[in-house]
């Protein structure tokens, strides 16, 4: 009798220990380490208790959790494609409790559109990156009397000017090819606008469409002349993206302009000791081409989606849209906010500050197209290789695009 009593007490105790806190919100995402700590600090500031589950294989985890009817409360998705897929199938809930007018006071409309489906908002973005910056050495520019180009045409004129003075204007590292695709993406969004850009990603227009050929032809104005590239064509194809940047910022520079994302600052500063951001290393925005599209930004951002609309979920989400939530992380560095109301002074370094300015002033934000396409089309063997082939022989453009179209046909 006694034994049974003890047994029952043990069971009850165990049950009470494993009871989950009803007020705790369960989030899954890929963040870990310091990223996660920063995010948890923000959640604490919101007053909502959070339990974060980190996973490397977010895709698989979400798919299985949905199948098992065991969804978390929030999920931090890596791009809007997954968001739209979940919204389409009715797995995530619309953010009807957020006021669109209020949101528009802090965010450009492009951020609302990117996270909407069927006319409703399904997610809010968080932690964006900026791949539309062109790095240069202000000291060299001043020494040579060069001005920062404000338009695409000005940049081409500057390229020609540098080349004619006997120097090499650009250094591009394309041993793998992805930096090249970023060029085309920036040119595409600046010449064709967000709808055609999306149609390009979804393969609603073929690769042989004139607007794509036109983007490559614009690019040719920079890379068409081998004297514009450090190392010529062969050098460029063998150069890594890091080494290409070092050539621009080393003590005896071999080239003067370098294009890639805002993360390059850290990479170069790590390798070269004399780098001082703002003084001998800075960037200007990838210039606009067609005025109507302004200065768009290509990049990537995480988007937060919800699986239910309980009180605490709504509270947390509401808080995450405020500028306070962004400022907590922005202060620490490694994070730029697309919230227009976050003061630029809060950023700890000039790189983040300048990058954030470009980000918030962008009326159009698009995601890196090669990441959004099926991997065999968007990455190695596809888009990246097409760009490499184009550098080697720009006249081959029609065949290159026809081959891309063939590849796309088989993969969509």
């Amino acid at each position: 009798m006694k034994k049974i009593l003890y047994f029952i007490i043990l069971i009850l105790f165990t049950i009470s220990c494993s009871k989950t806190d009803k007020n705790e919100i369960h989030i899954i995402g890929t963040w870990g380490g310091s990223e996660l700590n920063n995010f948890l600090e923000i959640c604490n500031a919101s007053g909502v208790k959070v339990k974060f589950e980190t996973t490397r294989d977010l895709d698989a985890l979400i798919t299985t959790r949905i199948e098992a009817n065991n969804t978390p409360d929030l999920a931090i998705l890596p791009n809007p494609a997954k968001l739209q897929e979940l919204a389409k199938k009715g797995k995530i809930k619309p953010l009807d409790f957020l006021n669109k007018e209020e949101l528009l006071k802090s965010y450009s409309e492009t951020w609302i559109d990117l996270a909407s489906y069927g006319g409703k908002l399904f997610g809010i973005f968080y932690k964006a990156s900026n791949k539309s910056v062109i790095w240069y050495n202000p000291v060299e520019f001043k020494k040579n009397g060069w001005d920062i180009p404000k338009t695409w045409d000005e940049m081409i004129k500057l390229t020609d000017k540098i080349r004619e003075s006997g120097k090499t204007p650009w250094s591009i590292g394309s041993d793998i090819g992805w930096p090249l695709s970023d060029w085309i993406e920036n040119i595409m969004i600046r010449t064709t606008g967000p709808e055609k850009y999306q149609a390009w990603i979804d393969h609603e227009i073929p690769w042989t469409d004139p607007c794509i050929k036109n983007a490559f032809m614009e690019w040719k104005k920079i890379i068409g002349n081998p004297k514009n590239l450090y190392g010529g064509i062969d050098g460029t194809l063998a150069l890594t993206f890091q080494n290409a940047a070092f050539y621009v910022f080393q003590e005896n520079p071999k080239a003067y302009m370098y294009y890639e994302g805002d993360f390059m600052g850290g990479i170069v500063a790590n390798e070269l000791n004399h780098i001082k951001f703002g003084e001998n290393m800075a960037f200007f925005a990838f210039p606009p081409i067609k005025e109507e599209y302004g200065v768009p930004v290509v990049g990537g951002a995480d988007v937060i989606a919800i699986f239910n609309t309980s009180k605490n979920v709504k509270k947390l989400l509401q808080f995450l849209t405020t500028k306070e939530a962004h400022e907590i992380w922005a202060k620490k560095g490694g994070f730029i906010s697309h919230n227009k109301n976050v003061s630029y002074d809060i950023y700890p370094d000039i790189i983040s500050k300048s990058s954030a300015r470009i980000l918030t002033e962008a009326k159009i934000y698009v995601f890196d197209a090669s990441d959004m396409m099926p991997p065999s089309v968007g990455n190695q063997g596809g888009f990246w290789d097409a760009c490499k082939r184009f550098i080697q022989n720009p006249d081959d453009i029609d065949k290159i695009l026809a081959d891309m179209e063939n590849l796309a046909e088989n993969n969509y």
């Binding site: 698989a60 389409k88 009715g90 069927g118 006319g119 709808e195 991997p375 065999s376 190695q380 063997g381």
Partner: protein, 384 residues
Amino acid sequence: MKKINKNILNSLQIYIWMLPAFILVFFFLIKPAFQTFFISLTEKIKISENQISVSINKIILENGNRDIKNKNKFKQLKNWKPIIKKINKTFNIFVKYDEINDEMTVKDTTELILIKIYNRLENEENLTKFVWFKNYKRMLNDSLMIQAFKNNILWLILFTSITVSVGLITAKLFIKIKWANIAKTIIFIPMSISYVASGIIWSFMYDKDVNIGTINALLNTIFKLLSFTGLNKYQPVAFLGRAETVNYALIFTGIWIWTGFCTVIFTAALNNIPKEIIEASKIDGANSIQTFLKIELPVIFPTTAVVITTMIINVLKIFDIVYTMTGGGPAGVSEVTANRMYRTAFNEGNFEYAAAIAVVLFLAIIPAMIFNIKIFIKEEINKN
């Protein structure tokens, strides 16, 4: 009466004691295997979003609209209400007029319609269709699967041959030397780490950065030391990022993990050879190598066969190493069948196709399994 009951109870006892194990094996092994096979013969009905878009556009055109663009506001179309009515009828859904606000564009409305269609499909219809062997046929055309099969064969040949031969050689050598036990422990330790942990450790070892990747750091140092001979600066190699090296890098990790297993088994087998046979061969004038090749190897042949088949079974199932180190990349170059099965099921949500892959893997392993068990039974019989 009591005596009959006791007899029946005695015979029944055998089955009663077997019952728990049998229930577990049936519900967790046999039934799911059959279910997987049946699932692999089906397919989930997919709707063509393209077709739906085309139909919607057709209905819009039929109602007196021209040159419709995705960004046009839907309510500004001519006859937008009859259009919604026709769409509701065509797709058997129910979109209310007030569900479309003034801001919504043609694109937004199309998306809303898609949401309704998916909703209807989930609630009403049975989405699974019986398609016989369509999934298996699809495997033959799937370039990723073909790459996975090729890689499994590469693993099969390299992994099996190297682990077994190195295991055998080290087993033979480590008997004679003084520090035999320490050597055997060192070679066996990788087996005691989880495969996932080994995979992650080796990912770091293969890292391209000379400050992180041990192998690149080592080669970099060697090049630096030899720089006086005029060698160029070392360019780090991304072992896991390059298509030419990634598979060999992964296979080497597998070999590193499993060789110890072979060594230990072979050591036991070699120790079990009756000493008289070795002495007899020495008396007959055979040297060590001849003894090894002509006497010892044939005697331990059953063990060798078991080790080979065990390695084959392991290598066909290989998953952890590939999943943690490259995830099948770059661009599917290092894919293996088990990884494809996981990705298809859990990342793409296509459980039927994954079931077909599982069945193929099962069929591939069965011959090795049967052979393994046969030898095992033969050994049992020989012992008795």
